[in-house]
Symmetry: C2
Subunit: 249 residues, 2 copies
């Protein structure tokens, strides 16, 4: 249920013409996924957005939004780019969405939504299975989408996701990405799938294994008996107590 009064209050406590958008990545079923929310009454999806309270750090605002939508805190979250084209669509369409929900909306009581917005983009890496998607007050529902099969996105969010992925690919830190996107334990080939999906290229199995083991960031655990007609793979876990294991922020 959408609570317009709450939305308006939030806007009034926020910095005008500035928003935050979080591109939340997860990994499941060998697919890289993004958590999107659907606008009410309009067939458009968006990454997790919100506003910056007047007394809040922008990093705090991003962490708050992430927690509101996933229930998770203390996980990897990093700013990657600010989007501010003059032609950037305003988020005035939100008014239409609200109106379709509640006839009694006094459009003029919603502050500065028709003005041009500049948005600061963050991306986050989360453990897919630990997330319980919660749409924000102004959205209908949240869902994960395979990054290869995105729905129609509002604003410039397609470009935003593209840029977040580029940042992820470029700043490729194996320990950081694996630690944050994988579940607690995993097999080597599952880990390889993750990197191949993100980078969009394949590696030979033997050399990948050597590279990961040489990095000395993995602990080998017991074997995993999958029931397949073949040798059982070992499970691995990212080592604790190394520089990458610390709470990221």
């Amino acid at each position: 249920m959408i609570d317009l009064q709450k939305i308006i209050e939030g806007l009034n406590q926020s910095i005008p013409q500035l928003s935050i958008d979080c591109v939340i990545f997860g990994f499941h079923n060998q697919e890289l996924k993004v958590l999107l929310s659907k606008l009410p009454a309009i067939d458009l999806w968006a990454v997790q957005g919100g506003f910056i309270r007047k007394t809040e750090d922008i990093d705090q605002a991003a962490a708050r939004i992430l927690e509101e939508r996933t229930g998770l805190k203390g996980i990897f979250l990093e700013q990657f780019h600010a989007f501010g084209k003059a032609s950037r669509p305003s988020i005035a369409f939100l008014k239409e969405a609200f109106k379709s929900i509640s006839d009694s909306v006094a459009i003029e009581s919603i502050p500065f939504l028709t003005q041009r917005f500049i948005s600061i983009g963050y991306y986050s890496l989360v453990d897919f299975l630990q997330v319980k998607p919660v749409p924000s007050v102004s959205y209908e529902r949240s869902e994960w989408f395979d990054i290869q099969k995105l729905p129609t996105l509002g604003l410039d969010h397609a470009e935003m996701i593209e840029k977040a992925l580029k940042t992820l690919q470029h700043s490729l830190d194996y320990a950081l990405i694996g630690f944050n996107l994988m579940p607690e334990t995993f097999t080597m080939s599952e880990l390889q799938k993750l990197y191949e999906t993100i980078l969009g290229e394949t590696t030979s199995r033997n050399n990948f294994q050597r590279k990961m083991l040489d990095m000395d960031i993995l602990e080998r655990l017991e074997k995993k008996f999958t029931g397949g007609a073949h040798k059982a793979p070992y499970l691995y876990r990212f080592k604790r107590y190394n520089e990458h294991k610390q709470p990221i922020f």
Copy 2:
């Protein structure tokens, strides 16, 4: 001469609580330098800041500010980070500076300067010798500073320069950096000094030379007779018509 009326007009046409700061890098006398401006009446220096007009892209705003302060356009300029700590000092001190210049300032007529600001940081690479520093309307004068010997900086500009340098180091593209920071022609050892200064580490001369030549981004020109008691080095120039030579934006 500071023209307060102009400043106030500019502020009224700009997006509130949002600014742009450009960290402008140059290279001269084997030193990496940053172009700073000094506040009037206060012993504080700052990188080149400005505001975003309501109808302007943020990239355009950064390019405009760069051109205003250096006379240069069409050169390398890239966004690297948005700064938005809640504790970020406001730029209210500008009022004091203005007041010390002009007794007749009605402080209240200067819009939103006492509020908390969020700033989008850009960095630029320029040919030192082509720059004619021009302080902005609200500053006293501009000067180049060796990045190792910075004066006292206002706001969080020390952190900003630090982060811009880190970005430069991390996204090290030899052709891009050399092309933008070096003069038209240079010797191989001059080029090596540039990279060593930026990265803060030394390379062996022979291997550096091979690496640069193997990249196939340099043209060898005539020799340069410096008058030193040794073999004269060749001059080089970055090749035109390769992917890096195109106007950067």
